[in-house]
Symmetry: D2
Subunit: 328 residues, 4 copies
């Protein structure tokens, strides 16, 4: 074990996700286990710049494993994008005697950590926390599994009213530029169509499919639309388009929005966060830094942080085929 | 007991709500208990016109007490607004030998039943089913309690992300022209402000209140907005307005939408539906018709259907005061 | 408004229930609103004896409205049953300069407050918090509505497996000596039989009913049993008894246990708690003490604390009849 | 594609689990997609013997993806353990012209299918459906992920009351002879101790650990106990043992029981079931039979059915270490 590491810090940055608190808890308790001092940094990189640190022990993270959001808060920091801002951040870390920094978040969070490491040689370690699952080097990001359950639960409710009225619903879900949430939640909710950025179904084929569905006696339909979808139309425009072209349809729109980011994490996300936190701290103690802790083939594996940012997370194309078969 | 009643029919109409299925089950089983034949009418008044009836027994309604939506479906019927349409509906009821009709729904549903009764003397009975709770003669409509839980659950999730980012959220909830859902769910979710049609807070006072809240150290805020609110601005315009006037705020909008109508009914809604169905059928058997079955002072009471439509459901003004005190 | 009241204290005691935190929040914030100092007392009467007080302000109760349990903790105090213990408690209240005490709990909690008042003339006010709903002077105690939803949700899950296997389940629910939870959750979950202390169905009639149910083609059955039921047999003995007498039945038992006491409170319980807390504090300020704040006919009303303890909470007998009709 | 396959059948057997309905739906719809006739067999092997078949099409499985339990029901069949019983089952399959059978269940279900195949050469395919996750050849069985969420949700509720009263709870969870549910849900719920069959902690070490936990200031504790745990004591005996040896502890027991088997499946289980059903049918069409469809390294893979039964599912030993660190 690396003798030089005596103090670590942990922060959350970017969009929050369920499981971030469980990951903070795991980092803090693993530090406690190895008698490493641990500091929480509030409001991400902005807190790093402002020196908003707080020492944490095993009791500081009591009762948070099942809470959504992040007790360390998150924020965007324009100042951290300047060399002066980053210098302040680095100076604060040094002044506190901190030897390594664990960052929990997504792409932007990791990019910040990489720059900090490049400019000052400061050791960093990343834990992927975002509901979007858009990170290379891990099959699951923290919060993704919880968000899928939140989305299917919401669509189940919408299905109740859709079936009662023989309506067509366009349901927009999150996911930034990737279709993970739309595809998996769409299959899970039994959606009749799924529109994702990775595949341009085309508006003509959407109309054909809906018409075929109606003729086959389907009384209601759910179309799940990823926010980054490439039809060139948002859900409200899609509604108008379908109503103009398929006047028999009574169309409604639902944008699930930010509730997808919250809620108590699923067991999967809590366990994954616990495992990732342990590996993050232990890897640093073993002298391995500038990695992201990920889940690959059900095992916790390290990926160079730079690769995590450069690589591209891919959806399971086979699942698109499953979706087609399911909506026979 | 009225000897003349041998067959009843039941339909759901208007927006569906959790508890409608439990009410259908109760009507059907109470008929079975009294050896009355019971017919389900599909798709509301439109099904009445098209003769879309199905005989139901105790087993037909098995396993539906905990399901959202309505197994009898609901639909709007423009045809029922014409005398010809209503004549067809009446003829179908007569042809089937049906002696009385139980309708489950809101204002519009009851108006339809009243007209049917006025024009043809056909005995009707109403059960209030709508999440909006906007019916006179009952403190609770079926689905209202469930919708409140759905809304606070969604706002709890939004709160997770709002607190993590120190954001202000405008959350639009349903409720048509009344503020029941907004007011109760707002208090239940600990909202900082609640905008309802019954009270025009005024945009200036909203800004003042938000500014005061921010200065007092509140790190995030939830403003619940009823869909029928009278600020003259919708939630998206409110967001813009606040961002222009209070640039320190990072504002987001969430429109909860149709998921509020679905989901498994709460225990309260299931029990209320069971009680209402029994009273609806037993009242008809006792010769009382053209009433709505409601809950008043925790007791099941009858209100003339006409009064239910003409009267106005009022919010609990005292609860506005409670909300103010809670957001001290 | 009473000029003499400058400081209040609040405690929770007895079995915890969802909504207690919302009530604490309401008491604390109402005090803040009226510029009254407010102290939280930890671990109920034991904390009163040990002087375990903490000053609370509006921020102290942030983020607790949706949390189960009680942040003030609860405990049994044998010492408070002695005159010496109560003297210590009183002396602590006086030493802190506290003018009135709000207690949140059930029968036992109120009895403690009454004795404190009788012996030392100390002004007290009660808020009913218990899932059992066994308090006179209120139709709903805090936590009862939430517990009903927890129970029907659990029975819905048990129903899934019961129907898949054509099994009979005895499900034991809480409720001390009264059948409120069993009766309402039983109707809400569509239970085939409900065994409550208020009505002795008799074992013979239970067997008859189950046999009739089986012959009528019911493929599975749920019997909800109140913990205080008077058949003279507990659920495990009931299982054996039925298996001996009705060998065709495959019987299982589920004791729902303490999970019934926890969980995020329903919107109803949160709103009720908010209303009760406001009235508790305002009543004290108006010089009214030694009352319990209750809900009667949907309005917040005061009942002398002594009556609340002496009176008896009654179940809705009519609901038993509804249950019988529903299981036709 | 195998030209000889024109008709398939599907059954569920053994303990039901969430996701079984989603798997039935997937098998039925994949058959529809490939124009294969599909029959549902009711009540598992017993229905096979009694010829309880029903033709199913894409519409037969509408609205079941989110339902717990199994619409095909499940049952134990002693008759199928006899050569005569199996002969009847085989004769029925032949008489119906069925070419292959998909069985959804656990160990016992697969053993039945293997025997059927050995004795009559009848082509079979297995899909692992059990909450226990005790099947070799798949990292996840259908229902396991859902059960984990159900368990952590229940323990979260118990934690509310445990913390309020500073109590110790023994919570017994399902899992037959393996500790998957206990270990993962234990970590997910932040349990202080986890007792599983794979590791004999020893009663002395349990006492030591609890005592250490109490002295370190932990105010409440949750010990998760797998039903197949090897301490030699059941949860009620454990309670007595701890109360005798650690009299400071106020101990409670909760046996979660059959509610763990029910409920709406998680998104993960719905998607997995959809994928498995497609592969089951397509593999048969490709001439591959007598396999189990499993999830390995996030991919759907086939394992010879015999290996699935003979092999042993192993818990993640590393997770025990994570649990120890988390309860520092």
């Amino acid at each position: 074990m690396s003798q030089s590491i005596k103090k670590m810090a942990v922060l959350t940055s970017g969009g929050d996700s369920p499981g971030m608190n469980a990951a903070i808890r795991s980092v803090v308790r693993t530090c406690a286990y190895y008698k490493i001092e641990c500091y929480g940094v509030y409001r991400g990189y902005q807190g790093l710049i402002e020196g908003d640190f707080k020492e944490m022990n095993a009791r500081s993270v009591k009762g948070i494993i099942n809470k959504g959001g992040t007790i360390l808060k998150s924020a965007r920091s324009t100042e951290f994008r300047t060399p002066e801002g980053r210098k302040k951040a680095y100076d604060n870390l040094r002044a506190m005697g901190i030897d390594a920094l664990v960052v929990i978040g997504g792409d932007g969070t990791f990019t910040g950590a990489i720059v900090l490491n490049k400019e000052f040689g400061f050791p960093v370690m990343g834990i992927p926390g975002t509901i979007d699952n858009d990170i290379f080097g891990t099959t699951h990001t923290l919060g993704y599994d919880t968000a899928l359950n939140t989305v299917v639960d919401a669509i189940d409710k919408i299905r109740d009213t859709a079936s009662s009225h023989n309506r067509l619903f366009f349901v927009e879900v999150m996911g930034r530029d990737v279709g993970h949430i739309a595809l998996n939640a769409g299959v899970g909710a039994g959606a009749e169509e799924i529109l994702i950025p990775e595949e341009d179904l085309g508006l003509d084929r959407l109309l054909e499919s809906l018409e075929r569905s109606r003729l086959s006696g389907k009384s209601s339909s759910i179309v799940v639309v990823a926010e980054g979808d490439k039809t060139g139309k948002n859900v409200f425009e899609l509604k108008e388009y379908v109503e103009e072209n398929l006047p028999d349809y009574d169309v409604r729109v639902s944008v699930l929005g930010h509730m997808q980011r919250g809620g108590s994490p699923s067991c999967f996300d809590r366990v994954l966060a616990s495992r990732m936190g342990v590996t993050a701290v232990e890897s640093i103690l073993e002298g391995k830094t500038n990695y992201m802790v990920g889940l690959l083939n059900d095992k916790i594996e390290l990926t160079p942080l730079e690769n995590a940012v450069k690589g591209k997370s891919k959806i399971d194309i086979e699942l698109l085929r499953v979706s087609d078969i399911m909506t026979t």
